[in-house]
Amino acid sequence: MCPMIFNGRTNMRENTSENSGNKLVVEAMQGDVDRLLDTSVLTTVADKFIGWGRKNSLWPLPFGTACCGIEFMSVVGPRYDLARFGAEVVRFSPRQSDLLIVAGTITEKMGPVLKLIYDQMLDPKWVLSMGACASSGGFYRSYHVMQGADKVVPVDVYVPGCPPTPEAVIDGVMKIQELIMSGKKRPRA
């Protein structure tokens, strides 16, 4: 945790008392400042503030490979509208996004591609695995399907379903938001 940056109350008082050129003015100002601090300034820690900003401005990269990709379109589409959670700016460039949504089956052939894309994303980054296939291989227990995207990238939130309903995906995104806000270590690093 970094030191409080909005803990201006003490700092401001110290500064003003040192500068004792015009005591009357300073006292009058102090009253104003106190009132201002009480009503319109929030005191918090930097991480919390940054986390709050991050959680409400996620830029997802939809790594849509299969059916879940189609359902993800519904998630960002007009009825479910992921924009309400600040995550509508879908970016296909890994360098511009901070939430990787693995939507769909990852095959063995696709594995190295997924890894490459994850590595290209800048920190901080989160991964949401959408659907049974991305989470565990789903009902494809077969020779060319990777048994879960977590074999190559660390996953923060798993959303079950085949495909999950858009509500479930939104719930997953909210779980990611909680994770960002809490500043906790990801389940698997």
Partner: protein, 559 residues
């Protein structure tokens, strides 16, 4: 056997001195011949008997037999409406002559048979793996390959191009390699296009597939027939019910089951609604790629409405598994038809709005007319079916050509194009949506009453109230779950007109509860292989426009 088949059979027996043994299997016409004659026979059928289409080519493995593999061709003659299945046996260390010289479309099908079975084709221009990754060892569809043995890939595949003896790299050109996909917004899924650019012009390009090879066919061999239905959902996931219908229709024909009128009506409604949403996704995403985002937001709402209808039938939105062998999975809730009619009216309006947004739009016309053009001859040679074929002006729609489920009694038209370019494909899809809505409307207005499934205890599970309520129901349920649905021994190929074209299922049954071999004939597979030649000399921006209009769905392409 009809007269056409008899004439061909007599003529063929004479020409090839009885080398072909003809037979019939569940109404399919079958010819078997020694592998040395394959190209001569295929050529003869194509040139003398109008078998213009090679619909499918696949392998079948019989490990205990002397000559281990069957190579199976499915041909179709649209003028005489004749279909024939040709089979020939190939040993493990033998080769068979390639059919690429006869049909260009054989190229990828042969590569697939090589990849999955290890059948070697003599004279194939580039026999390399197509679905599995390049580090994969073995041939997974052979019976001795364990379905659950994964092999990891360590690196992303390098760019490569088809070997072309005529191609010479011009040293004066500054060629820039460019790779699009497999994770790219404009490829919708897992397609990968590799190109060399001369400025903005494509000097040559190639495609790599298999990034979504989920082993449908191996999974089918390890599951009971009714368990395969959810897997079929995930073939073309934009229109899942159509795959259910195609698969169940095939098994039903093999078992000689006639489904009740209500089930047929429901299947038609579901299939036509799926066709509409499939086309909507295709047009919507295609327009997004060209910069028209409004269309996407606007028409996705219509799709949601259809999903709501599906949800009311079964609880699922996208992957519905709505049919069962013998009928439907559930009866429709009261008032469903009425709601369906309301939705249809809404979509009709939306289609007209879509029409006003795009059809006359100068930018859209500029980006699509004359782009991604393919001639009739090429389309047929590659095995195009569905809207992409009709856009070139070929009037072939299986719902009219070989009607099933009483499509002949319904009032609808088949739109065809003239140019075979991206714009025509768009126009054909637009009109097809209108026609599909018309069909669904006709059925919904006259929904037959009666049962939604047959009641044969060896095929259909009893109602839950019987399972829990009486001993007979419990017994029947137990027996069917343990025994599974068992089609008779034999082979069958059956087809329906899916959103992208002919969706065929070829089943080899050994009388057991699981298929011995199930091959899907995916319409996009044949279409996509023409992409490199279609794009040669085009602008790189046109790749995006043309790719979107072909509607390649990776689940169906890679299976």
């Amino acid at each position: 056997m009809n007269d056409v088949q008899k004439n061909i059979q007599d003529e063929m027996s004479q020409t090839f001195n009885g080398a072909i043994g003809f037979s019939e299997s569940f109404g399919d016409w079958v010819g078997e011949f020694p592998k040395e004659k394959n190209v001569a026979i295929l050529n003869h059928l194509k040139n003398h008997h109008h078998f213009d289409f090679m619909m499918d080519l696949c392998g079948v493995d019989y490990p205990t037999r002397g000559k281990r593999f069957d190579v199976v061709y499915h041909l179709y003659a649209p003028t005489t409406k004749a279909r024939i299945r040709l089979k020939t046996q190939v040993g493990e260390n033998e080769t068979i002559d390639s059919a690429v010289g006869v049909w260009k479309g054989a190229n990828w099908f042969e590569r697939e048979a090589f990849d999955l079975f290890g059948v070697k084709f003599n004279g194939h221009p580039n026999l390399r793996k197509i679905l599995t990754h390049q580090e994969f060892i073995g041939h997974p569809l052979r019976k001795d390959y364990d379905a659950n043995r994964q092999q990891a890939a360590t690196k992303v595949e390098d760019m490569w191009f088809e070997p072309d003896p005529d191609y010479k790299e011009d040293p004066n050109k500054n060629l820039v390699p460019i790779n699009i996909g497999p994770s790219h917004p404009a490829t919708h899924g897992t397609l990968r296009v590799m190109a060399q650019l001369d400025g903005e012009i494509i000097d040559r390009c190639n495609v790599e597939i298999g990034y979504l090879h989920r082993c449908f066919e191996k999974m089918a061999e390890t599951h009971l027939f009714n368990q395969i239905i959810p897997y079929t959902d995930r073939l073309n996931y934009c229109s899942a019910p159509m795959n259910n219908v195609g698969f169940c229709k095939m098994v039903e024909r093999m078992m000689g089951v006639t489904i009740p009128p209500k089930a047929i009506a429901m299947r038609i409604v579901l299939a036509e609604l799926s066709r509409v949403i499939d086309h909507l996704v295709c047009i919507g995403t295609n327009a997004v790629d060209l910069g028209a985002l409004t269309v996407f937001w606007h028409i996705f709402e219509q799709r949601e409405r259809v999903y709501t209808l599906f949800e009311k039938l079964c609880g699922a939105r996208l992957t519905v598994a709505l049919t069962r062998i013998g009928g439907m999975a559930y009866d429709n809730p009261p008032g469903w038809e009425k709601e369906c009619l309301t939705t249809i009216t809404g979509i009709k309006k939306a289609v007209e709005e879509l029409d006003s947004l795009l059809t006359g739009n100068k930018i859209f016309i500029g980006r699509t007319q004359g782009v991604g053009k393919i001639s009739q001859e090429d389309a047929i040679a590659y095995g195009y079916t569905g809207p992409c074929l009709r856009a070139t002006g070929v009037n072939l729609d299986l719902r009219k050509a070989e009607p099933y489920y009483g499509y002949e009694q319904l009032d609808f038209d088949v739109p065809i194009g003239t140019e075979g370019d991206t714009y025509d494909r768009y126009l054909v899809r637009m009109e097809e949506m209108r026609q599909s809505l018309k069909i669904a409307e006709q059925i919904c207005k006259n929904m037959p009453s009666g049962d939604f499934t047959i009641r044969d205890k060896d095929i259909v599970l009893p109602d839950k109230k019987d399972v829990w309520g009486n001993i007979e129901g419990l017994m029947n349920h137990f027996m069917l779950v343990i025994k599974g649905v068992r089609p008779p021994v034999g082979e069958i190929y059956d087809y329906t007109e899916a959103a992208n074209g002919e969706l065929g299922f070829y089943l080899v049954s050994d009388g057991g509860p699981k298929p011995y071999r199930l091959k899907v004939r995916p319409p996009c597979f044949a279409i996509y292989q023409s992409f490199p030649s279609m794009m040669k000399g085009a602008y790189v921006a046109d790749v995006i426009a043309a790719l979107g209009s072909l509607n390649i769905v990776a689940g169906e392409l890679d299976r």
